[in-house]
Symmetry: D2
Subunit: 334 residues, 4 copies
């Protein structure tokens, strides 16, 4: 593995401040989430989002997404999401497990984003009878699987539809920091009026902690039982809380996301027409031939193929700016 | 929290060598379990148990137990366990979740241990028809919830019954190290011919990693899918592998367990008739009145009440020998 | 099979009036439960119970019990029932399936009945934390698995406890008619303030229809989705509705139950000290040696062994009074 | 409701011979499936399909499909089916319930039929890793949701692919009789080498009985437990067995299907270009404007709208030939 690694942000190094916070947490305290750090999460997130919320740590984004959705969708219901959403494509059927057989209802949309029209197209044909699974919730991803960000007005429009139809609204924020860094708005605006948010840390400098932020305390209470039942209540939970608190401290989460976004912009600057999607967060989808990919790899750059004629590059909080510049140059030189 | 803390081993500090190994793992490597450390687990455990096995990391004992059991029991079956087994009493119904509604079948036994007679008493009355849930597996705990250890011959007898009846056999080894330290036998003898073992590390000096050891490779393959589906496949899995490898390195797991057991023996030495169960691992169940408990707490000792007239003390790898002696003295002085 | 058959009421003949009603239903009508007969159930049961209710047909008591319970208990909760309740002993784990892994919490009690004290003994030891499954509902059986009937005051006391603890209350009324016939009270009094009642018909003269009576319309709406999802929404549902309506017509259900109870009393009259339980419905549990059982079988009487030294006799709506007298005589002559 | 009813075959009258058989079954016999009629099913279906099979009755096609699929697909797997398959569109998420969260994988194809190419298009993009749900089985519908029949060679090709990929193969035969009547081949040829077949009776003259035919006895044994667990094991099962046996007796099932198909052909004869799909079974999808639909309804014909500009007509075993002719005339006159 080299400095030219742009495979993913999901296995990047752990930020020194996260390490520090974890070491500092290695003192005797109550087990599970009874420790002082875990107990501090609600207030810390309420400050961040400027409204009351309750926050639970879990180890993975899949667990965060599914525990959140399980509070919004009953086993006989459905969750509307984009056809390429992580919960549909990359979680091994975890929503079916956590939601006890509920169905994902796939909507289309540019850049892996959905809008009210796409949601209606997915659910309006559903007959309102017991023979068809009825929608119970909507899940959107901020930033999306193609690195696109929902603007506050776009979220508001989806939330309005959700309210009209009596649907819960969840946001998969595995890269929420990258979205806020791009949008330049308050975190509360980037989340909008969702019911629950998976607030990602692992891709942004943490080791093994994500937060589920519930804006409805009753949902959080429910999720606490389900978290334990899913084997996700760690007895040394203080080390997860410590990671999350370290991310929030002095906006480390935003600084990290900004660094990743900046590296992505540096690379994007040389991609021109090759870009399949505007670069708004830390992912780039770049048209290039197999031969061009070979050429880049020969120069030490790591990335995933994206279909037959494209490549996916992901930057991380610790992407080396020189490596990003080098990649930009290499792409320009193709 | 004071040095007199004997509440539990589940939130104890992390061993320095585990920290070291985690720090050393903070290098770029493949995500999930594709990294070099995760890939080393199978061989390392095969060496330890002197037979081929496949090992997966997960974050909690509940996840380890349930993912293991899910390979041994179908949704319509049952798992025989002691009435006070952790899977029955303290996992929030996780077996019901992971096994899709399978049933725990409760057996009795001194010291939270079961034997073939108790197992037969639980399953022989089950009519062999489709109206009653049929047993598919047995789960035993080494050391048991009361700190008792199964002798190799006892496990062999249970395994023999399991074979006769076509049942899978799982061992919850949340405190397996304490059992091996007590028994003084090879790890493979302390595990016996089980199909899957939850090899505990968190209570023994690790932070957030347990191993599931499968002695049947097909079961491990199945568990890999189920682990991801349960949201337990961490992208920076190298940090879990690092913890487990550190525990195995130069028998740290055994040294830690021996230290905890020694502290327990020190306390036990003064308990005499007060002991409800022989002390074989790192837990003591001690008869004492509420007034006596108050007196101990007034001296700074932490522990859980165990019913109306007893207390549970648990030692850990880092229990202060002086504190153990002090507690022994305080109990003697009651 | 002979007229001396007292094996069970569950496979007895279908009452002529039920046949008539089914034949009369063989006219074109809407599918599923859109037909006139299905639509008439709510009103008919509201009349019977003298309060608003919504009633759904299903084919079996197991489906009725489980669909009812699924409206009262979440997947992470528990249902308190007697240790020998049908849902625990004879439904193949169906509650675990329908309730997505929820747990049955077993209580003790004479005659397979439970009372507030027994329920408290089962649930009071449960710690109010996320590590233990919390009770969500209670299920009682009227008449019980040993043919004992809950008096209205007994149900009220259980309902009061349920209210205090925020638990739902379900009644398995597979032999509800036998209970009402014995109690001589209004059906509403024999049901008490339960949330949902499985109103049995199959054991009482119907062929393949049970009613689930919901006293909360929202629960009925939920159950409609779950019924379809469980494959229990028959397209020719009018034939199930017809059976139930026929049972209710001119109190056929009560007449049938009275006939079964009378036959049971006839047999009971000769059993004296042999009776293990007072006979209140249509089941008799009679102490007798294996030799005595052989002797009875040699005379053509059919029944199940009940352990080593007892027999279970069940009468049905169509039990031949002469056969009942003959059995009574045979028992007296043992 | 008039003789002009072409809404569906799912609520049609019960055939007189089915009634006769049910009445004849009203004799004392063993409960559940221990009676002589239920016990006769295996042999009867083995004769029909000219190979060993085991057959279970259930009340609905949804239960039949899902119990069959549950033997072929694990909870973490997927079932490939057509995008408009009944299991996807009209079973309220029952596969998610019975298969414990498994996923339906949607394939495209003319006339709601799929072929190896379509199946490959659905599953080839699935990465062979634990992050994506892996296919475990394929389900096809004979005749399809658009009344199209799979030719034996088409089934053989799908079965070959299934074998190559290690996938189970299920056939939803809700209208299997109509397919056999159309194909004019042996039942075994119309089923092909599937692992399990839902053999429909309800739409073809029965009241409440479908058969699940397993060509692998181990799967049948598994399904027996799951049937009970799903509340589908009726205690008076002899009445379901009687219906199925009556359907098989002297090929009533084929005669009924032929009658329905003939009525469909009569109507089709006047539809010409209006037909959206060739008519091979007993369903017609006919292009017509809302005004034309109004005109037909004004003449007393019943049917469902099919989108904005079409109508679905379904004939049944008891469709009145005169009504079919009248409808044909009315369509011709539009």
């Amino acid at each position: 593995m080299t400095t030219g690694q742009f495979l993913s942000d999901n296995a990047a190094a752990v930020h020194p401040k996260v390490w520090e916070a974890m070491r500092a947490a290695d003192v005797a305290d109550a087990p599970y989430d009874g420790d002082a750090l875990s107990q501090a999460l609600d207030e810390r997130f309420s400050d961040l989002f400027e409204r009351d919320c309750a926050a639970l740590w879990v180890a993975t984004g899949t667990a965060a997404n599914c525990l959140a959705l399980a509070t919004l969708c009953q086993p006989h219901g459905g969750v509307v999401c984009h056809r390429e959403a992580h919960i549909e494509m990359d979680e091994a059927g975890a929503p079916g497990f956590y939601l006890h057989g509920a169905k994902l209802m796939l909507a289309d949309g540019e850049g892996a984003k959905i809008d009210p029209q796409a949601i209606r197209a997915a659910i309006d044909p559903i007959r309102d009878d017991v023979h068809q699974v009825q929608p119970h919730a909507i899940s959107i991803t901020q930033a999306s699987e193609y690195g696109r960000c929902y603007r506050p007005a776009e979220i508001a429009a989806i939330a309005e539809l959700a309210r009209e139809r009596g649907l819960g609204l969840h946001m998969d924020g595995a890269r929420f920091g990258n979205a806020v860094a791009f949008l330049g708005c308050a975190p509360g605006e980037a989340a909008g009026p969702v019911d629950a948010l998976s607030f990602g840390c692992v891709k942004n400098g943490a080791m093994s902690a994500e937060a589920i932020v519930f804006f409805d305390p009753a949902a959080a209470d429910l999720a606490r039982y389900r978290r334990k039942r899913a084997g996700h209540l760690q007895s040394k939970g203080r080390f997860l809380a410590a990671q999350i608190l370290a991310m929030l401290e002095e906006d480390l989460w935003l600084d990290n996301a900004r660094a990743a976004n900046a590296a992505a912009q540096e690379i994007a600057s040389s991609c021109g027409e090759r870009l399949m999607h505007p670069v708004e967060a830390n992912e780039l989808f770049v048209r290039c031939t197999p031969e061009e990919r070979d050429a880049l790899r020969a120069q030490g750059f790591g990335f995933y193929d994206w279909g037959a004629n494209a490549a996916r590059f992901v930057t991380a909080w610790n992407s080396d700016p020189d490596a990003a510049s080098a990649l930009a140059g290499a792409i320009a030189a193709l």
